[in-house]
């Protein structure tokens, strides 16, 4: 394991933890962006250049901006009076810890049985493009349809109230 991996893992996990723990919603959005960036760098560390740059474009470029817009539109920047954690926070924490324990146990127990390729895969963006319009063309079309439907649906859901009042 390279020191770079530990650095990026620490960055990603610190970003995720800060996103969950910070009080101010805007700070949470910023911390989420840090976590997304750390994940993109981990993808690059895994020699998945295309997925890494797609992660930067989609998550940092679009999802983080959407979150900031939602915070601004819902006046989420004001601090709530009665704390940021829900009344059943302890149960949620226990469930999350239990799931992490099970996952970590499964990884440590099971990963030795998996044969691991150490050579860097020689995959170019050209190969990915070929696969997208060749073998995976039907999923690509379905995703295009899904994205169109989701965009229209999000606009309609967010607009509905205004139309009814007119």
């Amino acid at each position: 394991m390279s020191p770079m991996f530990y650095l990026l893992a620490a960055l990603t996990l610190a970003g995720g933890l800060a996103a969950v723990l910070l009080k101010h919603l805007v700070h949470c959005a910023l911390a989420t962006t840090v976590a997304f960036a750390g994940l993109a760098l981990l993808f690059l560390q895994l020699d998945a250049q295309f997925a890494g740059f797609a992660q930067i474009l989609v998550y940092i470029g679009a999802v983080a901006i959407l979150i900031v817009f939602a915070i601004l539109l819902t006046r989420g920047a004001d601090l709530p009076r009665d704390g940021v954690f829900s009344s059943t926070w302890f149960i949620g924490l226990v469930i999350a810890a239990a799931i992490f324990a099970v996952l970590a146990w499964a990884v440590i127990q099971g990963v030795r049985a998996v044969p691991q390729q150490m050579a860097v895969p020689a995959v170019t963006v050209h190969d990915i493009g070929d696969a997208l319009v060749g073998r995976y063309v039907l999923p690509l079309e379905i995703v295009a349809l899904l994205l169109t439907a989701a965009t229209i649906g999000a606009v309609i859901v967010a607009m509905l109230e205004k139309e009814r009042r007119q």
Binding site: M1, F5, L13, G16, L17, A19, V20, A29, T32, F36, L39, L42, F43, L46, A48, A51, Q55, V58, V63, I67, F69, A70, T74, R75, P80, G83, V84, F85, S86, S87, T88, G92, L93, I95, A96, A97, I99, F100, L103, V107, I108, Q109, V111, V114, P115, M118, P121, A122, V123, D127, I128, Y136, P139, L146, L147, A149, A150, T151, V157, A158
Partner: protein, 109 residues
């Protein structure tokens, strides 16, 4: 490689993904604000993507691109989910005046 599985790169990435998943799940379960719950769900989806990419990189057939494609489609679906989810949060806020999930306790508008 030593006897402890943690020293292999794949196990390291999988453990980071498991930890990020647990953090996202904790965020989705513990926080009051609906936007924070969506952020937690995004973190969980992202950790699943990290698993897919790690298995693609250290799997027996990386040239088949299966894990990579799965991750790319998963990124696209997660983007659609974020758009619809945040649209719903904005609609709920406009309707009830709050995004705190403890206070949203009616099914009927």
């Amino acid at each position: 490689m030593t006897s402890v599985g943690m020293t292999t790169p794949l196990a390291g990435y999988l453990l980071v993904a498991a930890m990020l998943f647990a953090i996202g799940l904790a965020g989705a379960l513990v926080r009051r604000n609906a936007i924070l719950v969506l952020i937690g769900i995004e973190l969980m989806l992202n950790s699943a993507n990290l698993n897919l990419i790690a298995f693609w990189r250290y799997g027996p057939h990386p040239e088949a691109l299966t894990g990579m494609m799965f991750a790319i489609f998963s990124i696209a679906v997660a983007a659609a989910e974020a758009a619809v989810g945040l649209g719903l949060v904005i609609a709920i806020h406009r309707h009830t005046g709050t995004t705190e999930l403890d206070k949203i306790n009616r099914m009927k508008g």
